[in-house]
Symmetry: C2
Subunit: 340 residues, 2 copies
């Protein structure tokens, strides 16, 4: 009798736990200019379910919110065996402090959308996080990717433009207004190329997919070497064309990558004087060029790295996260960071 | 009987407290190239006692340590009514993580001095902190000065060179190796003036006491305007001479300040893209020039500040701390930050 009683009690507790402890997940949402990607992400970075919906731009945000909520609900219902513990969102101009999307001209939803407040009412979950896509990518890299365990690194996304997320002391550097980490707009060449921001010579006018196209175009004008790139009009020329040409041995294309790496190495030496990171993690289309970009970058960094940092090698890594999934993982990671 | 007993017990407790609760102080130590300043600092930033000793450079560090310990002991004995709860030290190339002074060429003590370990054995106190002077100044400003309550700001010290301490999320940005915040060496003019660090065009070759002298000298060569500065040889020319001439209406001197402010404003716009601080706090000799520097700086910042930060004005403040005491307060503040 006495020996059976505690056993019975124990097995009852185990049974209760099995019922109560559903797998905890965060809903990661990446709001892009065309599509919104959604995913349920567990604490180890596995995406258990995915879906997407159109980002309805240049119309009242209410229309989009209706679709977004529908997509969120249907994704959650598809995995009723999971427990939602947080929602993390990456969006252009996402304000981490306020949970708002501020002045996102590309989305056309007006000066300020209180996104978190608008969603909160419809979902009973306590943890919400919103930040811009580049910051989300940095947190994703820290929690799930190649920066695991790092307390000081800079994530540089080489896409159409150049985005960045800075981590110092294990925390995102958000700044006073949540808009820190705009390294695409650090001065690379004083008075240089016109930038979309209205300034001249910003880093992203040189180091990005667009920057690479501009550099190749400039080289077509400067050099007299034959190149397949001479048959593609500017408006059709892509970083992929330049990559393919470089791989095939084209001098103009190779030189365009060399110049891009050189400028990026020089600016990374400037970034080092700021936060002396352990690593720079490169991400995005142009980063996939690998050694074509990384070799001239490292050579340039070696020349421009200041003497007070001599004796240590800054790690230059390409992100280990799957590009297509990284945005969802990053968005989810910003919420996982906050889940108690 | 019953009413007296609790009273007696109460007054006995009060008396014991009077004996036990001595005023808590931190010993702040600023190690300069010539002198070491020491001060006992309470938690409100009052310096209760001060002393100094020579910094014995270019000889075995043991000689200096003997003198330093003597100075520390005698200062502590002078205020036996205080309880020492921490020691904070500001020193060139102070490594916060390791408590060592690394490669401080000016001090001539070899590649690595384990300063905290060498002092710890002689003083029974738990909290020790060591960082470089510019970082200490930033923490001093945050705990005791004009940055009280700010979580994101950059302290820029315009002395012989340009030192900086960056605070983000309420914490010093130290970086992977504790050597973050070297903004004196961010690129101001690519390929520009030779810098002591071996690079060219670093910010401190333009914006510092030395930079101001170099600018004035360049202007003497470029312009044909009469100036009292033409009678002073380069090796004797000081930022003070240039300040006095500017105040007296000298065009060359005024123009030198304008150019310094212009370059600093441009670089501060770059710093903003990094950590988007609430304020820049200026400190040091050249900052005392006030409007002569601040007006062209603000005008330049207005031109160069990127559009994503438009709509907000970055605060440009001159430190409120007394220059002579700031180094001691800063050193003490780094330890006060850690006292439980």
């Amino acid at each position: 009798m006495f020996s059976q009683f505690p056993m019975d009690r124990g097995s009852r507790i185990v049974a209760e736990k099995l019922i109560i402890q559903r797998m905890k997940v965060v809903l990661g949402i990446d709001i892009g200019g065309t599509n919104t990607e959604l995913g349920l992400v567990d604490k180890d970075g596995h995406i258990l379910a995915e879906s997407h919906t159109k980002t309805l731009i240049n119309q009242p945000v209410e229309n989009y919110l209706k679709e977004l909520k529908k997509a969120m609900r249907s994704l959650l219902e598809s995995r009723g065996d999971c427990e939602l513990v947080g929602v993390g969102i990456g969006a252009p101009n996402g304000n981490y402090y306020k949970g708002t999307i501020d002045n996102a001209v590309n989305l056309g939803w007006g000066p300020k959308v209180p996104l978190i407040d608008l969603l909160k009412a419809s979902f009973s979950v306590d943890t919400w996080a919103l930040t811009n896509d580049a910051n989300a990518a940095a947190v994703g890299e820290m929690i799930f990717g190649g920066a695991k365990g790092m307390k000081d690194f800079i994530m540089v996304t080489l896409g159409t433009g150049l985005g960045s997320g800075i981590v110092a002391n294990g925390q995102l550097v958000l700044g006073y207004d949540s808009f820190a980490g705009e390294l695409g707009h650090i001065t690379a060449v004083p008075g240089g190329r016109d930038c979309g921001c209205g300034y001249k010579g910003c880093l992203e006018t040189y180091c990005s997919a667009t920057g690479l196209v501009r550099t190749a175009t400039e080289l077509l004008a400067v050099k007299r070497i034959a190149s397949p790139l001479r048959d593609i009009p500017y408006n059709k020329l892509t970083s992929r064309d330049i990559y393919d040409a470089a791989i095939a041995g084209d001098e103009i294309a190779t030189e365009a990558f060399n110049f891009t790496g050189e400028v990026l190495g020089r600016s990374i030496a400037d970034m080092m004087t700021f936060s002396s990171p352990q690593a720079i993690i490169l991400f995005g289309g142009v980063a996939k060029a690998g050694d074509l970009l990384i070799n001239p970058l490292k050579a340039s960094l070696k020349i421009h790295q200041r003497s007070m940092f001599s004796g240590r090698e800054l790690e230059i890594k390409v992100s280990e996260l799957d590009g297509a999934k990284a945005a969802i993982l990053g968005a989810a990671a910003t919420a996982w960071q906050l889940v108690k």
